[in-house]
């Protein structure tokens, strides 16, 4: 159970990235791809420099770069944001596998990368950050001028524009920062937990992060809480599966499916009708006739 905090951290950061982007009004399905770039970038950076912290920075930047592409397509070219996110995921899938092959000559895992240091409880700094950052983010969103503008831009961009808020640049910054956060989440996987990059990373965690955003009603604290819940459920499943294996029962699949089924159930039951930010997913056209 001690490890739940560490395992939750990637999900938390990615979920926070999702919240930032969507509150500003840009749908971000590409969290999975951004995490993948982040995980690989961090591993490569750490191996190249010998420092996990530089690796972390590289991962964050990689995620941000990917998000910049999403921002370009969604904001400048007003492309369909879901499609843009999916495209990003596809590119991330192929490109990272390709890079893994070209740079490290491997189709499975990268060489060992320097990992982030752990304290006496076995936690990395990122694990603690995963507890603190959501709170800071929530405060920022609800109490600062920038946070107010982000909220406005996600609900009624034109109203914000009439008051001089620059909608598109603000949205772009939010999207890039969401990539930064997702990149950090991915980096946590490779230099924080595993100590290397695995070709399957993030193995669907980017999509789980999306579910956490919705589950958490598009708020930082809610999404982080949801992320912790999912991680806990996952840990529980792992725990139970060990006992079952001992009894030679092949029920792995049931337990692996459980967190997802649970999420679906919860979404279907109460939270099915939450409201995303009103302008979420709608491309903003400054020159459109109102």
């Amino acid at each position: 159970m001690n490890l739940v905090l560490d395992f939750a951290a990637p999900l938390v950061f990615a979920a926070l990235g999702g919240v930032l982007s969507e509150r500003a009004g840009v749908v971000n399905i590409g969290l999975e791809g951004m995490m993948r770039f982040g995980a690989f970038g961090a591993a490569a950076g750490a191996i190249a420099s010998g420092s996990p912290w530089i690796g972390l920075a590289c991962g964050a930047l990689a995620g941000a770069a990917a998000a910049a592409l999403h921002a370009l397509l969604s904001l400048r070219f007003r492309a369909n944001q879901v499609v843009s996110g999916i495209a990003l995921n596809l590119v991330a899938l192929g490109l990272v596998t390709y890079l893994l092959q070209s740079i490290f000559g491997s189709a499975g895992v990268s060489p060992e990368a320097p990992s982030l240091p752990r304290d006496r409880f076995g936690h990395t700094a990122l694990a603690y950050a995963a507890l603190v950052v959501p709170v800071l983010f929530q405060l920022w969103l609800s109490r600062t001028p920038a946070g107010l503008r982000v909220r406005a831009v996600g609900e009624h961009p034109r109203a914000a524009a009439t008051l001089g808020v620059r909608v598109l640049p603000l949205r772009a910054v939010c999207v890039v920062c969401s990539g930064l956060l997702a990149g950090i989440g991915g980096a946590t996987l490779s230099v924080g937990i595993l100590g290397q990059f695995d070709a399957r990373m993030p193995a669907g965690q980017g999509f789980m992060a999306l579910a956490a955003v919705v589950f958490g009603r598009w708020t930082p604290l809610g999404a982080a809480g949801a992320a912790f819940f999912f991680a806990a459920a996952d840990a529980l499943q792992r725990h139970l599966s060990l006992t079952l294996h001992a009894a030679d029962l092949r029920l792995d699949g049931l337990f692996l499916a459980l967190p997802y089924a649970l999420t679906l159930l919860v979404l279907a039951l109460g939270i099915g009708r939450t409201r995303a930010p009103a302008a979420d997913g709608i491309p903003y056209d400054p020159e459109a006739r109102t």
Binding site: L148, L163, G164
Partner: protein, 505 residues
Amino acid sequence: MNALELTGIRKRFGAVAAVDGVSCAVAEGEVLALVGENGAGKSSLISVACGLYRPDSGSVRAFGRELPPGDPRAAIEARIGAVHQHFMLVGPLTVWENVVLGREPRRRGFIDAARARREVAEGAERCGLAVDPQARVETLGVAAQQRVEIVKQLWRGARVLILDEPTALLSPQESAALLRTVRALAEEGRAVVFVSHKLREVLDVADRIAVLRRGRLVQISRRSETDADKIAGALIEGPATAPEASARQGERGPVLLTVRELSCASDRGRPALRGLSFELQRGEILGVAGVDGNGQSELAEVLTGLRRADGTASLGNDVSFHRSPAAARRAGVAHLPEDRQRRGLCLPLSVEENLALGHHALPPYARGPLIDRAGRREKARELIEGFDVRPADPLARAAALSGGNQQKLVAARELAGGPPPRLIVAVHPTRGLDPFAARRVHQALRAARDRGAGVLLISLDLDELRALADRILVLFEGRSAGEAEPEAGDDRLGRMMLGQEPARA
């Protein structure tokens, strides 16, 4: 030096010149009225003035200094404030958050919420406008939201206030209060640009009146030098049209629609209709008047099967006709919806496909489970011609049509696309339409009435109701506030719309 000066403004949208070389100015302490029909360019012009649009050519000067084009921030800095037709308020945020957005008072990096609330309350009181700083804007009524908009501009120190059709959603009494506020602001030394198409208000409040027509300024004169006839004359091309005569060609028949104690809730869960009762006869146009938000939208939705309600509504003998849209359609109910782009059309589909919508299962559109393409094409051409839909191309995408042509498309489909309807529910059918398109739609409604259908015409435009309706029913707070003849005076209708006139027995 003028407070605001526009010189040679030109703005095109694609092939359409919304503003075509307009120059005008307004001085401090003066109220300039901008008058014009829908589509004359008023909204585009003021959007340029407050920096929302970048003009293709021309300049905007505030207090002598030229403003960088297309920069709302610069316009705000130059003390220009605008209250638009569609409110620029962020629903889930509070009143004070909306007012200070973009210019938030700060304290150590955070927003100084206490100061913001205090300043908003003080500012509002100074102008005699009642607002609750803590309320979430989406919970407020239209008039309250408008007050918030005005406070928002005044708080930013606007010396030039632009009001775009401010009385569109207000009752006559609320409008009068607003006009008083406008005069008070002018007397304080502010410049006010008052955009409207309601001549009576303009003549009441303006110092100078500018008339726009098809993007050009055709007339500008002092209030003392002009009158309603001169202005109306400049507004419309060609000879001033006489008010459309409602020459009846059919007989009013037996009762078609009976509504008793109809009650339902709005989307927000509040009661929208509270025991509404009325009757509609065959061969009659019943106008429904009322300030927006008193149940009109919900009434239309109930009768067309889009909303559940308690009470009874019977079309002939049929009490369950409004159970679902399909049932309503089968019973002969046609619907010209309020939001034609969302409810009336599938924009990505072609004109031909949109014309088939609702009747697509019947001949000539279909033969059994298959589509009859030739039949559908033929019928589409017929409808396009009959209703003068432009471009006259069945394969054009509905999204490419102008607002007026889209409405003609909807009218063609609803009124002539299938078996002739018994009941027509038309909601704001000419909103945003140019006079020619509007007249076409009116013709179609009258023709349907003359054929023996019953028409429920819900509209915010009293002139439209007066021109078309045989009787006018006024809704107030979800109930009938009484009926009136079309010739009834504005003040009587206005009092009914505010529930102040006891309903005649």
